[in-house]
């Protein structure tokens, strides 16, 4: 056990470096990172270019969109430990709000955005309040059902296009000098990146405060958390609703870029893939989740030259990776192992209840 604790760990090293850095270094590092990501569409490197599809488009969807949704789902699955298999439903609600209001009213993207987020949140409350009382695996099946219901309802209601979906969704109006057109995915990517940064900021603030501590407690032991006075249902619903809001915002933006949506884009596979991003990257750790989502969204595009078996390769890679690193690529809180006196409950043998 002892040698394991002191094994060099890049993530912990980086985190220590960050924490020991003075403020000016942190600020300048953050700014250069952010600037790098804003400049990413201009990067032209044969290593990361995606054959068969435009790198700038890939950067918006799937990569950026998956990163955004994985951050949102991480609030639900990673922080509060609720297994949600129907996350795509909120994405669909956002996208359909944009599609319906954009084609039937004169509202523009920036006016529809808060409506889409609000509707996703309301559906999160409606779904969450009754079902979040259920235990893990039952919650999984109920959310899975909800995801499918939203899709089936969209397929079967002719008023919103039925299986053909909605076409002719307006693009957002020009913002500063950026023009939103179908040909140029860069402005969409920048908007998406701004959303993502805002959400990262929000999630990090929350995680350090009362909601974050409540989520931690709920994840570790629901009953104990309740016993200690945490209003578990309230914080569970909050986690659910915040996750829904993120997906709703993503959906609105996605619909305005893709211009036409069909219900089958919002199938169970998307929910599962986003969940895979969260677990693959390192559940509960924000940076791990972002890395995982970027990798999982980017790899199938990068290996598009394999055309037929690329999803097969993806599936096999998922199994192999999970077997090699069951905690994900960048697992969280390995750093505590650096303290030579620190022991987990299992190691010390104390507090063993079984």
């Amino acid at each position: 056990m002892a040698d394991k604790k002191f094994r060099y760990n890049l993530r912990d090293h980086a985190a220590d470096y960050w924490e020991r850095s003075p403020k000016w270094r942190r600020v300048s590092l953050s700014i250069s990172f952010i600037a790098f990501f804003y400049a990413l569409p201009f990067l032209n490197n044969p290593l990361i270019n995606t054959p068969g599809s435009d790198f700038q488009s890939v950067l918006f969807y799937p990569v950026g969109m998956y990163v955004l949704m994985a951050i949102g789902l991480n609030i639900v699955v990673g922080k509060s430990g609720l297994l949600d298999l129907g996350y795509v439903a909120f994405f669909a609600i956002g996208a359909y709000t944009m599609a319906i209001l954009g084609t039937h009213t004169s509202l523009n993207f920036w006016e529809i955005l808060p409506i889409g987020i609000a509707l996703a949140m309301v559906s999160g409350v409606l779904l969450g309040t009754p079902t979040l009382r259920l235990r893990g695996d039952y919650l999984a099946i109920v959310t899975l059902g909800f995801g499918e219901i939203v899709r089936i309802v969209a397929v079967n209601i002719e008023a919103i296009g039925g299986p053909r979906g909605i076409a002719g969704i307006p693009t957002p109006p020009d913002l500063f000098k950026a023009k939103f057109t179908i040909l140029d995915p860069k402005p969409y990517y920048w908007v998406l990146l701004t959303f993502t940064l805002l959400i990262i900021w929000m999630v990090r603030r929350m995680a350090a405060r009362r909601p974050g501590r409540a989520w931690d407690a709920i994840r570790q032991d629901d009953d104990v958390a309740q016993l200690m006075g945490v209003n578990t249902l309230k914080y569970k619903v909050w986690a659910f609703v915040l996750g829904a809001a993120v997906a709703g915002a993503g959906g609105v933006l996605y619909a305005s870029q893709i211009l036409s949506i069909v219900p089958d884009q919002f199938n169970l596979n998307v929910s599962i893939l986003i969940l895979a991003c969260v677990v693959f990257g390192g559940i509960g750790n924000l940076w791990g989740v972002i890395l995982g989502a970027a990798l999982l969204a980017f790899t199938p595009e990068r290996i598009r030259f394999l055309s037929q078996p690329r999803i097969l390769v993806f599936g096999i890679a998922l199994v192999v990776m999970m077997n090699l690193r069951p905690d994900g690529i960048l697992p969280k809180k390995k750093r505590e192992h650096f303290d030579p006196n620190w022991k987990t409950v299992e190691e010390s043998g104390e507090g063993e209840i079984k």
Binding site: D137, I152, A276, L312, L318
Partner: protein, 316 residues
């Protein structure tokens, strides 16, 4: 909304629902067995079913049955059907065991989280679906008609078709065999012991790896039998077949109380009948919505399913 159809064809629909429910019940037994032992949703179980349907197809091809042939008769027919059934059960059983070894074993022994195991199983599921998509070129396959489908008799306006009668009876026999296996056999005892308390049963000398392998084998064979019955009645399959039936069967398992064998049976039949009724009344497109709404309602009133989880009692 077509309540007249439901009223006029009530017994016919009930009978069709029973046949569909028997298939659901057989698949959901696999979910419930694995959940009972490992406390995990076996996400690759729907693909175990899918492989069963294709194995039955291949077996019928090896037996020389062709789509354009007339249905067989007499003992030749029985023999062909049995070969297809055994092929499906063997293939599904072996696949389920392989899934356990590839996706679960290593993670389980390292004490990985539930979610990591879930993703690993999802990876296996994606790989198998994609493998069969590539093999079959994304096209559905038709199953040749081995058995002549005739109406045996009529009851209250409902024509009872022979293949569905066979499915219901055979599924009942399968479930009876499984129940005997779980209650009477040595491994069945092991399965029950592990599902009650894993660490204590290990201390009592239960070989946990063997027990888990047997659990997956039994669940897989039930799914294989379900696959054969499915292909016998509906006469087609595709790489997507596992997805739809898997979700329904899993819903059935939860409806009855997951981890509970009787619950899985009951949930399967209830869901099969309900789906048949609701597709008659609201159209097939809405049946999944209605079954999920029913599931949510049941869970809200009784959060552990209709029969409860029965963790402490013998899971039979």
């Amino acid at each position: 909304m077509d309540f007249a159809l439901l009223r006029d064809a009530f017994w016919g629909l009930t009978f069709d629902g029973l046949a569909l429910g028997a298939i659901y019940a057989l698949i959901s037994l696999g979910y419930t067995l694995v959940y009972g032992v490992l406390r995990l949703i076996n996400f690759a179980h729907s693909e175990v079913f899918m492989i069963g349907t294709f194995s039955a197809l291949v077996a019928s091809g090896i037996m020389g049955v062709k789509i354009e042939d007339d249905p067989r008769t007499g003992w030749g027919m029985v023999f062909t059907l049995l070969i297809c059934l055994i092929a499906a059960m063997l293939a599904s059983g072996i696949t389920a065991v392989l899934v356990e070894i590839i996706a679960y074993r290593r993670l389980r022994q390292r004490g990985a989280t539930k979610l990591a195991t879930l993703i690993s199983a999802i990876g296996v599921s994606i790989s198998l679906v994609e493998l069969f998509r590539i093999i079959t070129d994304s096209l559905p396959r038709e199953f040749p008609r081995i058995m002549d489908k005739t109406f045996l008799f009529s009851y209250a306006g409902a024509d009872i078709r022979n293949d569905k009668v066979i499915v219901i009876i055979a599924a009942g026999l399968m479930m009876f065999a499984l129940e005997r296996f779980i209650t009477k056999s040595r491994y069945g005892k092991g399965i029950r012991a592990v599902s009650m308390d894993e660490s204590t049963s290990t201390l009592m000398g239960v070989n946990i790896n063997k027990v888990i392998t047997v659990t997956f084998l039994a669940g897989g064979m039930m799914a294989g039998a379900a696959a054969f019955f499915y292909i016998l009645v509906y006469e087609n399959t595709s790489f997507k077949v596992g997805f739809f039936l898997g979700i329904s069967a899993f819903t059935a398992a939860v409806l009855g109380g997951i981890g509970n064998l009787k619950g899985a049976l009951f949930g399967g039949f209830v869901l099969g009948i309900l789906e048949t009724y609701t597709s008659a009344v609201f159209g097939t497109a809405w049946k999944a919505v209605i079954s999920f709404l029913i599931l949510v309602l049941v869970l809200l009133i009784k959060p552990t399913g209709l029969f409860g989880e029965s963790i402490q009692q013998a899971r039979v």
